[in-house]
């Protein structure tokens, strides 16, 4: 109705010609849609106090951060520069062709767009994004590491990822004039004689760089902050489908219970009915095996490589419980930039964001509640799984709205190509 609205009504009345559609259009325009408030810039859903409170919990953004006390070079410019060089250096692999950036591609949200990551060979899991990783408590889909620097050591030594040994890494670092110089400036001493100590130091420098990878503010953050300050005009600029999707997210979807807070993740683990059989064979037990590996690791926060003498951050590692319900649980990922990091889930099982939304809408409860574990070789024990998830039975329109909301968590500025910074020049 190009001539609709009040203008159309007045014009049609003046000429005596009354196209009924113009009158109808004028009437419809003047009526506020049910449950919405008309502002000059757009529409704003009439959010209740509870909805508003829950939405505000997803901010503010950015979140404050302080250097990791377990990593003595966390936050230091020299370490960040060293870590950046290491991150993009394909010589840090057994065949000289795989770097961290092979799987963690900057313009792909620091993932790779594959179902399963491929380094020296294909692995069993999807590449997680490195954006905002500094806010994590646990690292890896199974949380097998409790620090970012320890998580960096793992792929270096995995035959299917970088395929190196501690000896090769240490010899490479000691033998490279640039790295040996940078080690001295970063750690106050040249690379140690102990190979393992050098590998841990490499992990810490990489972590210092990765801690700088954060997403900026998004359309959602602008909406959230507008709500917080009561700016209805600004809030109404947030697209209506995204508002509807957000209402479902914090309402009947209960998505916010796990995808909680400014990171859109409570940082823990959950089982959500994704198949766990590995392409390489066997079952991926997820968090259960992750806890076992964490406890056995020399690099955890309870070990000698924690630079914090108070071991203040080790409480989670000290108290984490190896329970039957941790079988098939995987880390709840943060949702910032989620629209840019397909495919999804620990094994890339779901190709698109609409597929993810449909998964939760139609979730098969039998997959969740049937977990039999053979602690005894003959007698299975039924492991109770939690009852949080239920099929949401969303309409097509509702699923589209949820996807529309999730798309507003994207920071386009964080999706640009990147390599070693131009000012990260030679060590002197």
């Amino acid at each position: 109705m190009s001539d609709g609205g009040v203008t159309g009504l007045l014009r049609s009345l003046g000429t005596g010609h009354r196209p009924r559609i113009f009158v109808l259009g004028a009437v419809l325009t003047c009526l506020a849609p049910l449950g919405k408030t008309q502002d000059s810039a757009g529409v704003l859903l009439d959010l209740g106090d509870q909805e508003r409170r829950l939405i505000l919990q997803h901010g503010p953004w950015p979140q404050p951060w302080s250097p990791d006390p377990s990593n003595r070079v966390s936050g230091k410019p020299e370490a960040i520069a060293l870590g950046e060089r290491l991150f993009f250096d394909a010589r840090l692999s057994s065949n000289g062709s795989v770097s961290c950036a092979t799987c963690h591609v900057p313009e792909r949200g620091w993932t790779d767009g594959r179902k399963l990551a491929v380094g020296m060979g294909e692995v069993d899991r999807n590449t997680p994004s490195l954006l905002n990783i500094r806010h994590n408590r646990w690292f890896g889909w199974d949380g097998a590491n409790d620090t970012l620097w320890a998580q960096n050591v793992r792929p270096l030594l995995d035959a299917r990822e970088m395929g190196l040994t501690e000896k090769r890494i240490a010899e490479f670092i000691r033998g490279d004039r640039e790295y040996a110089c940078r080690f001295g400036k970063t750690f106050g001493a040249p690379p140690a004689a102990d190979d393992e100590a050098v590998v841990v130091a490499v992990g810490k420098a990489l972590a210092a760089f990765q801690e700088t990878l954060v997403t900026g503010r998004t359309a959602f953050d602008e909406f959230r902050d507008a709500l917080a300050r009561g700016d209805r005009a600004a809030a109404s600029r947030y697209p209506a489908p995204a508002q509807r999707g957000l209402r479902i997210f914090v309402g009947k979807g209960n998505c916010n219970l796990c995808h909680f807070g400014p990171m859109f993740s409570h940082g823990e683990f959950h089982e959500i009915g994704i198949p766990v059989f590995k392409k390489s064979g066997g079952v991926d037990w997820g968090r259960y095996e992750g806890i076992k590996r964490l406890r056995a690791s020399r690099f955890n926060l309870l070990g000698a490589y924690n630079d914090d003498p108070k071991r203040a951050d080790g409480i989670a590692t000290r108290h984490v419980a190896l329970l039957p319900q941790t079988f098939e649980q995987f880390k709840v990922p943060g949702l910032r930039n989620v629209a840019a990091t397909a495919p999804y889930m620990h094994n890339g099982h779901l190709a698109t964001l609409p597929d993810v939304v449909r998964h939760y809408s139609e979730i098969n409860l039998a997959l969740l509640h049937v977990a039999h574990v053979y602690f005894d070789p003959l007698v299975p024990e039924a492991i109770p799984t939690d009852t949080l998830l239920k099929p949401l039975n969303l309409t097509q329109g509702e699923m589209a709205d949820v996807a529309a909301f999730l798309a507003t968590l994207t920071d386009p500025g964080s999706l640009k190509p990147r390599s070693v910074a131009a000012d990260n020049s030679s060590c002197k």
Partner: protein, 142 residues
């Protein structure tokens, strides 16, 4: 009986689940002193606790000062376990709390964490005299 409501992780004392201090004190053995705070009881014990920090935040570890007093004629606690559970989700904490006796019916509890918003039950299992009492106290974390 009102449940505690935790607003933004803050437990509101105005809605605390309380028994009158006078009744509780007269029912417990004279050697055990209840400090005040939240008090709950079973057939054999009275439990009082305070979380540290006082404002429990979702996804943040917290500790607890705990006092367990046997009622008159009942056995002193020999073993105490503290846990958390979400009855509406049918799952507990991802962490195992450690209870350290501090003497005089007092205990320090470490390693607690409530990782999701919603209704949580504190569960206190007190074993004494060959029997175990299970005492729960619901709170809502928002």
């Amino acid at each position: 009986m009102k449940r505690d409501v935790v607003r933004r992780g803050v437990m509101n004392d105005a809605l605390a689940f309380m028994f009158s201090a006078g009744f509780a004190v007269s029912a417990v053995a004279q050697t055990c002193e209840l400090p005040g705070g939240r008090e709950i009881e079973s057939a054999r014990y009275v439990v009082a606790y305070r979380t540290k920090p006082e404002s429990v935040r979702i996804g943040q570890h917290f500790a607890m000062d705990l006092v367990i007093c046997p009622k008159v004629g009942e056995a002193a606690p020999e073993n105490v376990r503290v846990d958390g559970f979400m009855p509406e989700h049918n799952h507990g904490m991802n962490y195992k709390a450690v209870v350290k006796p501090a003497g005089g019916g007092r205990y320090e509890v470490f390693g607690l964490m409530f990782h999701m918003p919603g209704k949580w039950d504190f569960i206190f299992e007190v074993r004494g005299g060959g029997k175990t009492d299970r005492i729960t106290h619901s709170v809502i974390l928002k």
